[in-house]
């Protein structure tokens, strides 16, 4: 009992540190620096501590400190309770969605079977969709409670967009679920041990639809109409300043990490290295590290591989964000209901047929 508690606590602390402590602040820097490098410029590099600039990494720190000490503003006519609540509602699902994502395999360590996932739920991926549905409230409430026309329009657009894309996103995933026959993400991860059984080879269309829908769900740039700067000042968080504004930002970054993790788990072999199975890793390491050391090393390799893949997809999302221009609102809606939804339905039925026939 106690050991279970310690194990799950350790996993929660690990994921929380990686997400909130490492990814959230660094992604702010990555976004700036990557856009700079892509646009043939230098990017932030002046902030220094004792003459040490760390390639502009301290600019993230400067931003954080500045926003913490910035005036926290609530408009006079706003609904104060919901105005304060909204950023939290936006942030919490983004953090807690990581609970079901496996970042490594199942290993025997000191006689305990350790499964590198916080909660190995039977409903698996559906949990992420549930949380994505709840994340809508953050934006909707933020838009409504500010009592500003820009915010309200942003909130309405956000809710419409997120609801619509949730449908196509859900349907795009079902193909993968049919193929692997499980909703449990650990099962799906374990099934991709063989390189040629990776989700991207079995469900390429599903991957494209999921990626599109996930970026739309995250409201990042080709789909950032809820916060379209040229139309709606800053959309649903127009009236937010200081730390609350940063919480929306952080939620966006964390959701990006979650999307990358899900894509990695479902389509790109989770924690597996191509052509290397977990058993092979164990047998290699047990040659010099003993059974426990081998398990620990294999775990470390798994985690490293998983986060390397996650980093790649974060890079990909950043590249998409700094390459494509924004869609119009009607284009976004048309794309969802007239392209992605039928496409995912076709994909789903073809997958079902093939699985049935084989």
């Amino acid at each position: 009992m106690l050991a279970d508690l310690i194990e799950s606590l350790a996993k929660i602390v690990f994921i929380f540190t990686v997400n909130v402590g490492v990814f959230a602040p660094i992604l702010g820097w990555v976004e700036r620096k990557q856009s700079a490098v892509m646009q043939d410029r230098i990017g932030a590099n002046r902030a220094d501590i004792l003459g040490f600039t760390a390639i502009g990494l301290f600019h993230s720190l400067a931003d954080a400190v500045k926003l913490l000490t910035k005036e926290d503003f609530v408009p006079a006519n706003a609904n104060k309770f919901f105005h304060t609540l909204a950023p939290f509602i936006a942030l919490v699902p983004a953090i807690s969605a990581f609970a079901i994502i496996p970042f490594g395999g199942r290993y025997e360590l000191f006689g305990r079977e350790i499964n590198l996932v916080i909660a190995d739920l039977d409903v698996g991926i559906l949990y992420v969709f549930a949380l994505a549905g709840l994340a809508t409230y953050g934006t909707v409430l933020a838009g409504w409670s500010s009592r500003s026309n820009w915010s309200l329009l942003g909130g309405l657009r956000a809710s419409a967009q997120m609801l619509s894309y949730e449908v196509a996103m859900g349907l795009s995933i079902i193909g993968i679920i049919i193929v692997y026959g499980s909703l449990r993400l650990t099962d799906i991860g374990a099934a991709q041990e063989n390189f040629f059984r990776w989700g991207i080879f079995l469900q390429p269309v599903g991957f494209i639809i999921y990626m599109t829908c996930a970026i739309a769900e995250n409201k990042r740039i080709p789909f950032d109409i809820p916060e379209a700067e040229s139309e709606l000042v800053a959309g649903y968080f127009t009236e937010y300043s200081g730390m609350k504004f940063v919480m929306f930002w952080m939620a966006e970054f964390l959701e990006m990490v979650t999307i990358s993790a899900i894509v990695t788990t479902l389509f790109f072999g989770a924690w597996h290295i191509p052509f290397v199975t977990d058993a092979m890793l164990l047998s290699w390491f047990s040659g010099f590290a003993g059974p426990n050391g081998a398990a620990a090393l294999a775990m470390a390799v798994n985690i490293a591989v998983f986060f390397a893949k996650v980093s790649f997809f974060i890079w990909l999302q950043m590249t998409i964000r700094w390459t494509l221009p924004r869609f119009r609102y009607d284009q976004v809606m048309r794309m969802c209901w007239k392209m992605l939804l039928p496409l995912s339905l076709i994909n789903l039925s073809i997958t079902g047929l093939v699985v049935l026939l084989l």
């Binding site: 410029r41 932030a44 002046r46 400190v65 500045k66 000490t69 006079a76 937010y240 504004f245």
Partner: protein, 189 residues
């Protein structure tokens, strides 16, 4: 604590009220901890300006060139334009401000959250430039407090960067007792 800013009530938590009733901070002015903290916060503020580009005229082109890859405003940490005044720190007034536009500018200034700075970009914003006539505001400092004046019609990107460096120097030496700066001196125009 609330301070009435035209129609918005502003809550202040960290800034500690108006400048005149900041007694304890004045007493502790020389204290080590407060100065160190102040220095750290000022360091952060100086490298993290979120701009509000209030672009009304041809200087906007030069503003784009400053922000673009050639001169790259992002090097100084001032690259993120926020089009909501709540989130912006630095109000860049770029271009001619006519009397019709003056109330809008004042409103935007008043809507900005503390701490805030104002940057007069180009001759028209500094003094009205050669629009010495009935319709143009003769310098935005007749409406709102301005921190940095950058002359030029339009200014070279280097001049703007000079101004930004000067503003960084100014922010570095600021005291918490300088804040909040509050309402624009002209609230109706």
């Amino acid at each position: 604590m609330g301070l009435k800013l035209s129609r918005w009530t502003v809550t202040r938590n960290l800034m500690g009220g108006k400048a005149e009733d900041a007694g304890p901070e004045r007493l502790l002015d020389g204290s080590v901890i407060l100065t160190r903290l102040e220095a750290a916060v000022n360091w952060a503020r100086k490298y993290s300006f979120f701009l509000y580009p209030f672009v009304t005229a041809c200087c906007g082109m030069e503003f784009m060139s400053v922000a673009g890859p050639r001169y790259d405003l992002d090097r100084f940490g001032a690259a993120l334009p926020r089009f909501s005044p709540r989130q912006a720190d630095l109000l860049m007034v770029v271009g001619t401000i006519s009397h019709k536009q003056a109330p809008i500018l004042v409103k935007v200034y008043n809507q900005m959250a503390e701490p805030k700075w104002v940057f007069a970009f180009g001759v028209c914003a500094v003094s009205g430039g050669f629009y010495d006539n009935y319709s143009v505001v003769q310098g935005i400092d007749t409406l709102i407090p301005v921190d940095i004046y950058v002359p030029g019609c339009p200014p070279r990107p280097e001049m703007v960067l000079d101004g930004l460096l000067l503003l960084q120097q100014k922010v570095k030496q600021e005291r918490w007792t300088d804040w909040p700066r509050g309402e624009a001196p002209v609230s109706r125009c």
